[in-house]
Structures are given as C-alpha cells and as structure tokens.
C-alpha cells in the first residue's frame, strides 16, 4: 500500500474480513507531509462494498446453478438417447426372437418327441420368454408410446393400483394401512405410467415380505413440505434393503431376486418415469423394520426433461 501510494497510483485493496475496500493514494501535498517532504502517511477512501460482494456471490451461485442444470440436461439427453437406442435394439432383437419362438413351437408339435427333447425345448422356450420380458421393459424407453398427461388425484391413482393388487394382497395375507390425505392438489401426470411405478413398488414390497408372519403394507399420501408437491410413501415390514445396495437399487438390471422372477428393470424404469415428471423417488430403511419408498411429484409436471431431479438414498 505504501509503495502504491508512493508511486502516486491509486490501488484498490480488499480487506480480508470486512466487505470494505480501500483506495489508497499517496499524497504529496502539504497536508500530510512534513516540512522536509518526508512521507508521513497516506490517506485513503474506504468504501463499503457489501452490496457488490453479495451481487458477485449471487452471480457466481447463479453461474454454478446454470452449470449444474446444464450438466443435468446433458445427462438427461444422454439417458434419453440411451433410452432410444435400447428401445431400437430391443425392437431389432424381437425379430430373431420371434423366428426362434415360432420354430420352437413348431418343433414341439412334432410327434414322437422323447421326454428329454421336450424338456430341452421347454427350457429354450422359457429362456426366450426371459429375453422377451427384457425387450418389453426396454421398449418402454422408446417414447413411441404417447403420453397422456392430465390432472389427476393421487389418491385415486393409488386407490386404483391397490384395487388391482387386492387379490394378491389378500392371497398373501398382507395387512394394509392406507392413509389418504383429504386435501391433495391435483397433479399433472401420465396416469398409466405413475400407476406402473406404484404397482412396481407395491409388488416389490409384497415380495420383500414373503415368508414372514407379520406383513403390513402401508401407503400414505400427503402434500409434501414444499407447497407444490405431493408425496406418496409406501412402506413394508420386510427385512429392509441391504445398506450396501441402497444406492444401487435404481440401477438397470440390479435385482436381488431370482433371475426367473424379474428383469431387474422395474425400479430403473420407475425412476425414469418419475424423473420424466420432474419428481423424485428414493428409498430408505425404516427405524424398526422394513423399507419405505418415497415418491414426490410436482403439481405442475414438466414432462419434458428440463426439470432437475435428485436421487436420494438415505442410509
């Protein structure tokens, strides 16, 4: 500062701990110079730059947010592109699968097949069916299916899925505890897809509780803490989710079930559907027993990919 002052150049200095800057200039006039022109000191102008600092910080934050949003958009675009690619591949795979399936059916109609041959043919047919299930699931991402977006009551949506699951729930001896919030805002959604998600989670819950004595499925709907969202919480009394798996459950093909029992794409697809609606889905283990899945959907769904979504899993 002294140097700058001496050189007669004004310089701005920002103090570290105060939002203040000093403009220091040297003065070579009689006011603060001694008779022998000995340099006595400098005076400067202190200016409160709090507002400027705040504006700069906000600008940086906005810049950061824009960057994050852009990154998420790029990620979304990538995922969408991957989705279209997998749907295209699935489509292509179905042709050779179709041919093999028909040939197997024809073979099975041959007379005088040995038992062993028949068994092998059945094994092949079953494996082909697995491929078919996977391609059906992957085909979900094709975007060829039109979205039918309308304002819906989440309680009705949940109710409808529970009706569909009622026979299974009854058969497996699952107790239900359903709490519908009386004042839910309507949500713009693709009803079929959201029902698919809820159905998937309830199916998983039922499977998780298999073989247990106490089976309780609870579903709660409520307006979430921030105003324009509706939350659905689906909980089971199963063994909970292995904490090493918690952050992988939404990955494609991740499953803890027997391969014959599913493709491991259910939660991956569900995640995609919720994300398409600009919502959030996550899971956590409950304090006493079982796991809960949380779905939050915004009242005004952006069913294109502009909305950012976090995937949260709490340990």
């Amino acid at each position: 500062m002294r140097l700058a002052a001496k050189e007669g150049r004004g310089k701005y200095f920002e103090l570290k701990y105060l939002p203040v800057e000093l403009y220091a200039i040297g003065v070579y006039d009689g006011h603060i110079k001694a008779e022998d022109r000995k340099f006595l000191g400098t005076y400067g102008l202190a200016r409160d730059i709090t507002k400027r600092k705040r504006a700069e910080e906000q600008l940086m934050n906005t810049g950061r947010e824009l960057q994050e949003t852009r990154d998420m958009l790029v990620q979304s675009e990538k995922l969408a592109a991957i989705g279209r690619l997998t749907a295209g591949v699935a489509h292509e795979i179905l042709n050779p699968v179709n041919i093999m399936s028909m040939r197997l059916q024809l073979l099975k109609q041959t007379k005088d097949l040995s038992d062993r041959t028949r068994d092998v043919l059945n094994i092949c047919t079953n494996q082909l069916n697995r491929i078919i299930e996977i391609t059906k699931d992957l085909g979900q991402f094709s975007g060829l299916r039109k979205k039918h977006v309308a304002a819906c009551d989440m309680n009705e949506v949940v109710g409808h899925v529970l009706d569909l699951c009622a026979p299974q729930i009854k058969e497996e001896g699952i107790k239900t505890d359903i709490q519908y919030h009386p004042e839910l805002p309507l949500i713009r959604m693709d009803k079929d897809r959201i029902e698919q998600v809820i159905f998937n989670i309830i199916s998983n819950a039922a499977a998780a509780m298999a073989g247990q004595e106490n089976k309780t499925l609870s579903v709660v709907t409520n307006p979430a803490t921030s105003e324009d969202y509706v939350q659905v919480i689906i909980s089971d009394t199963g063994p909970g989710i292995d904490r090493h798996h918690l952050n992988r459950i939404f990955d494609p093909f991740f499953t803890t079930k027997d391969p014959a029992q599913g493709t491991g794409l259910g939660l991956f697809i569900s995640y995609g559907i919720i994300r398409d609606h600009g919502g959030t889905i996550w899971a956590k283990n409950d304090e006493w027993e079982g796991a809960s899945f949380f779905i939050e959907l915004p009242v005004n769904a952006k069913t294109n990919r502009e909305h950012s979504v976090e995937r949260r899993t709490e340990q």
Partner: protein, 122 residues
C-alpha cells in the same frame, strides 16, 4: 376359403409361418415386401393376409391401405411388435381385422385365422 398370404421382410419368419399354416391345411404364399405382396394379392386374391407392421420400402400401414383399395373384404391381420399397441390399434381403424404381437403365438394365430374364415362363411 383358405388362401393365405404371409408378408414379412424376414424370410425366416415367412418360412416358419408358412410351414405352420401349411400343416394346418391352408394354401399359403409368401411375399417379402409391400410391392410384391400387392401384385400377388391382385393375381391370387387370398382371403387372408398376414401383414408385418415394420417393413422397409413400404411399411405395414401403407400396404394395408393399398390392400383395402384393391379389395376391402380381405381379412388383414397385422403382425406387430409387442410395444406398439397404439400403432396397432390405429390399423384397426384403417380396416385391419385384428392384430397379433411378436413373438407370434402360433396357436393363437390359428384361432384368429379360423375365426375370420368362419366370419367369411357366415
């Protein structure tokens, strides 16, 4: 009442369908694309056409429209991929009699064909 034309750009799919329907006593011909299918329809006048939805050059919907112009009474059964339900339903509006999804359940296909033939006869 038993002439069937199978149209699919996959030769092996045509072959398997022909073999099955031959076994069941039908008189089966095949075509690998739209233009060939249309010329065969004009010449042979099949009662039923099994038509693949996704073909290059002319896709199933276009062929369907042409067939209906030639003879609106031909029973056209669309063969579509399992995820394209919406598209398949559209073809019903265009005059397709029914649609079946790939992979084809041959027994079910036989039922659909039989029902259409009965329909013709009544």
């Amino acid at each position: 009442m038993n002439k069937i034309l199978v149209v699919d750009d996959e030769i092996e799919a045509c072959s398997a369908l022909k073999e099955f329907l031959d076994l069941k006593g039908y008189d089966v011909d095949t075509a690998l694309d739209g233009p060939t299918a249309i010329s065969k329809i004009k010449e042979d006048q099949p009662h039923i056409v099994l038509l693949d939805m996704n073909m290059p050059v002319m896709n199933g919907t276009e062929v369907l429209k042409e067939i209906k112009k030639i003879d609106p009474n031909i029973g056209v059964i669309m063969v579509t991929v399992v995820t394209d339900h919406e598209q398949a339903k559209e073809t019903l509006k265009l005059g397709a009699y029914d649609y079946i999804t790939k992979p084809v359940d041959l027994d079910y296909l036989e039922t659909v064909v039989m029902v259409k033939i009965l329909d013709f006869l009544s």
